[in-house]
């Protein structure tokens, strides 16, 4: 039986993990995943990582922060952490999220309603360290003790906590065990937001201490601000790639496709997640084909970051978030477009359309909307002929959290699927009550050490169960099936997780975007636009 972990254990000085997950502890999966097929060997952290890095929270490690060499170094880091924590509750430093954070700190009733809503907590077999309130309770105790300068009475009221380096090092990892899907916040009767607390913690580490997951910062927002895209593609490279995609799409569709670049005065600046161009070229190809066929005035931009809607700052750093959002808006302003349309990427939608709404002012406040509404209008307008029989296979829809629960874009994608996919079926629950794919908050691009095992076995487990359940009447591999995921980040998680569990080989389950399904059903396109073997 697993040892019960208490909040105070976060300060344990022994350099050993607080918990260890075994396959038998995890939420059960249906056959054949309840046996060896579903229980992969979980490789331990490499000895070198364990010896040199602060990795003593659980079985994995995201940040790989090097061990401090001296007690003095540890104390300095604790001091910086405390300084950052105080800044979180200061107007000048954190006006961006001060009100929701203070309300969350001061009004949680610890009823644990949030815990039942969290897919990570459930999938882990209700492991205490993944409980949404575990992390928050630590921060809350630190808030009342060190920020509000509470004494004994405060400790009696809110609980005490010992601030030391092991606590800080474990919190650094613990804030990267949450997908920031905010399903917990949706369930909270008070309106407290444990997802926000995880994000604010990431901010303390990034904005004050300069510590974060390298995939989000060095290889993410910094690379994007340096060359234009977190994929590493500069403007010339992205145009080359799009030229190739145009050629390939033209050949496969039997319709000439040309992507317009830097068209001043176009109605729409379309910004894709550049990951699509590299990893799922069918998606930008299908967009180009469809928008041209519908007679839309649109363009891509070759400005710095203007061709990559990724904004990883939304997961860990307000300054980086604002900088990238402003770059996107500047690209649109330069081209004098009427509006920005976001491609199929959930976090990019939320970042630029909704969160940046209170950063972009004046002539940078250019209207922004989802590509899903545009696609819905094209499909329902009658301008293009469709043959739904081409999509006559089981299709289910994944709701990206950032696009659906956190932005309210629920129906446009469903209208399209109901019209074009005769065998469309919902996952349960769906819509705003959906579960995260398990790759949210940047996890889909984090793969160091054995973190992939964690995100497939734990954070992605609930979604895997949902997908298998949605297709339970047709799991036979003779029937091809499609998980429609209109989000690059979610597709990244599905690509890796489906491979991990062998979903294609065992059940012929493919994942992909929405626009590919639309183009696949276009009567004027050569049949077979979807490449089933490409998974």
């Amino acid at each position: 039986m697993r040892q019960k972990i208490k909040v105070a254990d976060i300060s344990k000085t022994a350099r050993e993990p607080l918990t260890h997950l075994e396959g038998r502890d995890l939420m059960p999966l249906p056959p054949p995943y309840d046996g060896p097929a579903g229980q992969h060997d979980w490789p331990p952290l490499p000895a070198q990582t364990l010896a040199g890095c602060e990795c003593f929270l659980d079985d994995t490690c995201v940040v790989n922060f090097p061990q401090p060499k001296t007690k003095q170094e540890e104390d300095e880091l604790v001091g910086k952490f405390l300084s950052g924590l105080e800044k979180l509750f200061n107007r000048d430093n954190n006006w961006t999220f001060l009100q929701p954070l203070v309300l969350t700190m001061e009004h949680c009733t610890k009823c644990q309603t949030c815990s039942d809503a969290c897919h990570i907590f459930e999938a882990s077999g209700r492991n205490e360290i993944y409980r949404p309130t575990f992390r928050t309770e630590i921060v809350r105790r630190l808030y009342f003790k060190y920020v509000k300068r509470g004494g004994l009475l405060s400790a009696w009221q809110h609980g005490d906590i010992q601030l030391n380096w092991p606590l800080v090092a474990r919190l650094l990892e613990l804030c990267y065990r949450c997908n920031l899907c905010r399903r917990c916040a949706q369930a909270c009767p008070i309106g407290a937001d444990n997802g926000l607390v995880a994000r604010e913690l990431r901010k303390v580490f990034s904005q004050e201490m300069g510590i974060t997951a390298k995939e989000l910062h060095e290889k993410g927002s910094m690379l994007q601000l340096r060359v234009g895209s977190s994929t590493g593609m500069n403007a010339a490279a992205v145009r080359d790639n799009m030229d190739f995609i145009d050629e390939d799409t033209s050949e496969r569709a039997g319709i000439a496709v040309k992507t317009p670049w830097d068209v001043e005065g176009a109605d729409i600046l379309l910004i894709h997640n550049a990951g699509e161009i590299v990893a799922w070229p069918d998606n930008p190809g299908a967009f180009a084909l469809l928008l041209n066929a519908a007679g839309i005035s649109w363009t891509l931009s070759s400005e710095l970051a203007g061709y990559d809607s990724i904004n990883y700052g939304v997961f860990y750093d307000d300054a980086q978030f604002a900088r990238v959002a402003i770059k996107h808006a500047e690209a649109a302003r330069k081209l004098k477009v009427k509006k920005i349309v976001l491609g199929e990427c959930g976090h990019a939608h939320k970042a630029l359309t909704l969160i940046a709404d209170r950063v972009l002012t004046g002539d940078l406040n250019i209207p922004r909307e989802s590509s899903l509404t545009l696609l819905r209008d094209i499909v329902t307008s009658g301008r293009i002929r469709f043959d739904p029989a081409r999509n006559d296979f089981p299709v289910t829809l994944h709701d990206p959290c950032n696009l659906v629960r956190l932005m309210g874009v629920v129906e446009p994608q469903r209208e399209i699927l109901r019209k074009l996919c005769p065998q469309f079926r919902e996952m349960e629950p769906h819509g705003v009550m959906n579960y995260c794919c398990g790759g949210g908050s940047g996890f889909a691009i984090i793969s160091g050490n054995n973190f992939q095992d964690w995100r497939f076995q734990v954070s992605g487990r609930k979604k895997l169960l949902q997908i298998l359940t949605a297709f339970e009447d047709c799991l036979d591999p003779s029937i091809p099936k499609y998980v429609c995921a209109p989000c690059s980040n979610c597709k990244g998680q599905f690509r890796d997780m489906f491979t991990y569990y062998g979903l294609w080989e065992k059940h012929r389950i493919l994942y992909g975007g929405l626009v590919e399904l639309i183009v696949n059903a276009m009567s004027d396109v050569k049949p077979g636009f979807l490449e089933w073997e490409w998974h």
Binding site: H107, E208, R323, L354, R358, S370, V409, V410
Partner: protein
């Protein structure tokens, strides 16, 4: 018998503390700066068809050209369902709802009974004939039903919540001594009030007489010791609530209206844009090198610098 004037003083002082502390807390939250948008759907003031599936105005093409529709009845319905029936808890944690709802309903009934009692007493003072003609009797009758029901439900709910806190494996590790104290406070205060009232002695005293006495500062009223003790405990509890996390009746206004349902877009030249413009002048001091904050640069200046290109704009 305890000093009637002392009891009056405690009751008035407690009420004053409750009002002032609640206002201070609410004002404190209201003064916090406008935050970035962080809503969660469903948002009930969305247009009716969209609110049903949790949709937003982002589902409309060119949404900024459409007239903004605020579905007041949808929001009111959602607010009432949450306030009167704790709908969120019912949906997501029924086990706790069965304890929490009687507790909250009991408090609502007690609040209602108190308000009716004082209305009745006030009417008796200013228009005794009208009081005797019927309204007073109706109000008094309502108090007789609501008051005991409120006390009973509060006691049962608080006891149920306390038991859950002490025994539930999910709740126990997160329960502080103050959580236990708070629930015990409710149980003890409600218990003494009920016991004091039940055993006050025939014809010696009534809640109506107390309300009348409080409004007229009638020093001649004799309050039995046991009931007086219950009154003082109840009054202290009322004063204590807004000093603790139990003041979530204040917090929920902000967590719902400002955060969860805060979907008001920022239009050019709007009031929101003016408020943002002010916040962009704040001067952060975050220490990480890539932020480039020095306490002199504004938030806006930081946001337009590019740390990956040597800080150029």
């Amino acid at each position: 018998m305890v000093s009637t004037i002392a009891i009056y003083a405690v009751l008035y002082a407690s009420l004053a503390v409750f009002v002032v502390a609640s206002i201070v807390r609410a004002a404190g939250y209201a003064r916090l700066p406008l935050h970035l948008r962080w809503e969660i759907y469903p948002v009930p003031h969305e247009e009716k068809g969209r609110a049903a599936h949790g949709g937003s105005y982002f589902e409309m093409k060119d949404w900024w050209t459409q007239p903004a529709k605020f579905n007041r009845s949808g929001e009111l319905k959602a607010m009432l369902a949450e306030m009167l029936f704790l709908k969120g808890l019912w949906e997501f944690k029924k086990k706790t709802w069965y304890r929490s709802y009687p507790f909250h309903l009991g408090l609502y009934l007690l609040f209602g009974a108190t308000a009716l009692l004082f209305s009745s007493a006030f009417l008796w003072i200013v228009a005794p004939r009208s009081w005797a003609a019927g309204p007073g009797i109706v109000l008094h009758g309502a108090c007789v039903i609501l008051g005991p029901a409120g006390i009973g439900l509060t006691l049962a709910g608080a006891a149920g919540l306390l038991l859950q806190r002490l025994t539930d494996a999910d709740l126990k590790p997160y329960t502080t001594p103050a959580d236990i104290f708070n629930l015990l406070f409710f149980i003890v205060a409600a218990g003494f009030l009920a016991a004091g009232y039940l055993w006050r002695g025939k014809g010696s005293f009534s809640a109506f007489a107390l309300a009348r006495g409080l409004l007229t500062f009638d020093a001649g009223l004799r309050v039995p010791a046991l009931f007086g003790f219950g009154l003082v405990l109840g009054a202290l509890l009322v004063a204590y609530i807004p000093l603790t996390h139990m003041s979530h009746f204040i917090a929920k206004y902000f967590t719902y209206h400002s955060v969860r349902w805060g979907d008001q877009p920022n239009g050019r030249g709007s009031g929101i844009e003016k408020r943002i413009a002010e916040m962009l002048t704040y001067r952060p001091t975050w220490a990480a090198p890539h932020i480039g904050a020095d306490g002199a640069k504004t938030w806006a200046e930081i946001a337009i610098t590019n740390p990956a290109q040597g800080g150029k704009k």
